[in-house]
Amino acid sequence: MNLHIVNIIIKREYLTRVKKKSFIVTTFLVPILFAALCMLPSVIMLMAKEESKKVAVVDESGIVMPFLSNTETIEFQQFENADPEVLKMKLDSVGMDALLVISPLDSAKKTVSAVSYASKPLGMETSESIEHKINDAVEDYRVKSYNIEGLENIMEQVKPDISLVSYKIDEQGKETLNESGLYMILSMVLGMIIYMFISMFCGMVMSSVIEEKASRVVEVLVSSVKATELLFGKIIGVALVALTQFFMWIALTMLILAVVGGIAGPEFLSGAATADPTAQMAMMPGMDAASAPVPSEMSAILSTLGSIDYVQLIVVFVLFFVFGYLLYASMFAAIGSAVENEADSQQLVLPLTIPLMIGFLIAMFAYKSPDSAVVFWGSMIPFTSPMVMLTRVLFGVPTWQIVLSVSILVLTFVLCAWLSAKIYKVGILMFGKKSTFKDLWKWLKMK
């Protein structure tokens, strides 16, 4: 292979794509989207706080109202002896957002029923909060109705409040708080990103091969350079586009978060924090670290995020993306060389998209049992390992397994690339006839 020539090809493949409007738009829009997603929880909390609701209460039971204490977002106001039917029609004029009607006490069942009316729905949090208060009221009524001295205190004492605190122990015996729910989400996101990247950029390679064939420019090209030089120049060029996009996304997302964090204060970004979790915790309003023997959920999330080895994650991601992509791209290029338009490729790419899909699906469910046989083999078989290994990495994978899996992937890539190049060489000059797998097999055997 003439490296100088391959370089020229890589340069063209890279520059034509990077200069495209669609590339520039996605490169800048996606980080904004990422950053927005990171900030979303904080934004929602802020917005929710601002909107407090005034609730008119008609308490026909007489036991609930004392429990309806005002909160930051809900303000209760009792309307004694008001007719709910009349009141609900003129909520606006009395300055109320909603009407809560508590039925008279059912003394046999020792319960009440509650109905609310509002022109705008109350929202999940508000409804839940009201439900809680009513339940407390009924519970209190029932406890009192037993007429046992001190029962309230007893009840209070028997109520357990236990939550499972998980620590992850690493090889040095260092313990870190661990939130497995978060791992689940992260592993799914990683699996999805690598699946999207591989299928998107392999599709790009394939359409580029088809474009060259359909526009007939390929014949001039292969009269100047070897078909294999063209093939690998293209594949490498597109890979560099993918890596450029990937690192731009990371850099831009971090930049946006840093800028927004600088302006709005770090607690605004709590959901996306990757900084020292204890420092973040101290800033959390209403969270008293000393009096809480059990770590709160937020601190667990922060601790989990802080405990991830991002360098390792990015290295493994890049490694598996690059070789997973190379493996699939060479095969997609071989398929592309066999057809003259994209519609004809549908049937031929099926044997490639199916293993890709299987890898994706295993990756999506890997969190349920990261050490099961399916997940293990999925992370070793080269056609699925890029997606599956990525999801496993978060849960901790022995280094030898990563090395073994990468080695298998690289070897398979070399073999597939060699076979694909043989098909590609013949395929790009075959015009007029719709090719089948039989043709591909024939080309493979050709000298």
Partner: protein, 304 residues
């Protein structure tokens, strides 16, 4: 001396034979016509010379030694199925193709600018190929074929898609390149341009080489020793046994245009003496060579 020598080249695609034991000598500095009906194996032959396809057996010599990948930098190829990247700018595209042929960026830019000026298309540099008409794109493609000053040019149907004005421009360019010492392999179905441009030809039919040699030589070889005689006289020319027969004779008020069939190609003087002896005035005496078109049709239909 032969620039390109193909020796016993065989190529088959699976069970289909594309070339069967074909040998060609393309002399240096000449225009070599590669002829043949559709599907005869011309494109395969061209692709083998270009090293796009590797023959099953036989070899191709370039300047007397087996052709290598480096030699393709000295070849310029204009395929019959033209194509450029539609979304790419004309200038970038031409630069890219020139660099793939081994030119440095600087040389490529300088040479391309020259050609663009020569063809009067300087304004197209920043245009996208998809904005060009077919004929315009063909011009760009021709430039990309010749910009690296190849010593061998392979032009497959170079005139198709051009209007007469531009076809003439290309024809002149081809002759000029020949004058500068380039060797040109011209594959075309246009037999008039073969007669006009080619020094030598090869005719491939059904994977076999059926004819090769100098154009005039071949035409003479396929001629029937016919001559056209224009004479004036009151009487019509009478055939002479053992010398010539008269195939046709058109009389236009005493001015006759006749086609004679000579018994032997070297009998011209004797025939003229005989004509003069019959008291006729000779206005013109001209050898009639068969058209390449007729030879082509004859050979190809005979092969069926």
């Amino acid at each position: 001396m032969a620039l390109i020598e193909c020796k016993n080249v065989c190529k088959n695609f699976g069970s289909k034979v594309a070339l069967d034991n074909v040998s060609l000598d393309v002399p240096e500095g000449k225009i070599y016509g590669l002829l043949g009906p559709n599907g005869a194996g011309k494109t395969t032959m061209i692709r083998i010379i270009n090293r796009i396809t590797i023959p099953n057996s036989g070899e191709v010599l370039f300047n007397g030694r087996p052709i290598t990948q480096r030699d393709v930098e000295k070849i310029g190829y204009l395929p019959e199925e033209r194509g450029l990247y539609r979304k790419m700018e004309v200038g970038d595209q031409a630069m890219y193709l020139a660099q793939l042929k081994g030119m440095s960026e600087k040389d490529a830019r300088a040479e391309l600018k020259k050609w663009f000026v020569k063809f009067g298309i300087q304004d197209w540099w920043k245009k996208k190929v998809e904005e060009l008409s077919k004929g315009m794109a063909q011009k760009v493609q021709f430039i990309t074929t010749v910009v690296h000053k190849p010593s061998l040019m392979i032009l497959d149907e170079p005139f198709s898609g051009f209007d007469p004005v531009n076809a003439e421009l290309i024809r002149k360019e081809i002759l000029e390149l020949k004058e500068q010492g380039a060797t040109i392999i011209l594959s075309t179905h246009n037999m008039e341009s073969v007669e006009e441009l080619c020094d030598n030809i090869a005719l491939i039919n059904k994977s076999h080489l059926v004819l090769s040699g100098g154009v005039d030589e071949i035409r003479r070889q396929y001629g029937n020793n016919h001559v056209e005689l224009i004479y004036s006289g009151e009487n019509a020319l009478a055939p002479v046994e053992g010398l010539f027969s008269v195939i046709s004779d058109a009389d236009d008020n005493g001015r006759h245009t006749a086609v004679l069939s000579l018994n032997h190609e070297r009998l011209g003087n004797e025939v003229l003496t005989s004509v003069i002896g019959q008291g006729l005035l000779v206005n013109s005496f001209k050898e009639l060579l068969p058209r390449m078109n007729d030879i082509f049709i004859k050979l190809v239909t005979e092969g069926k």
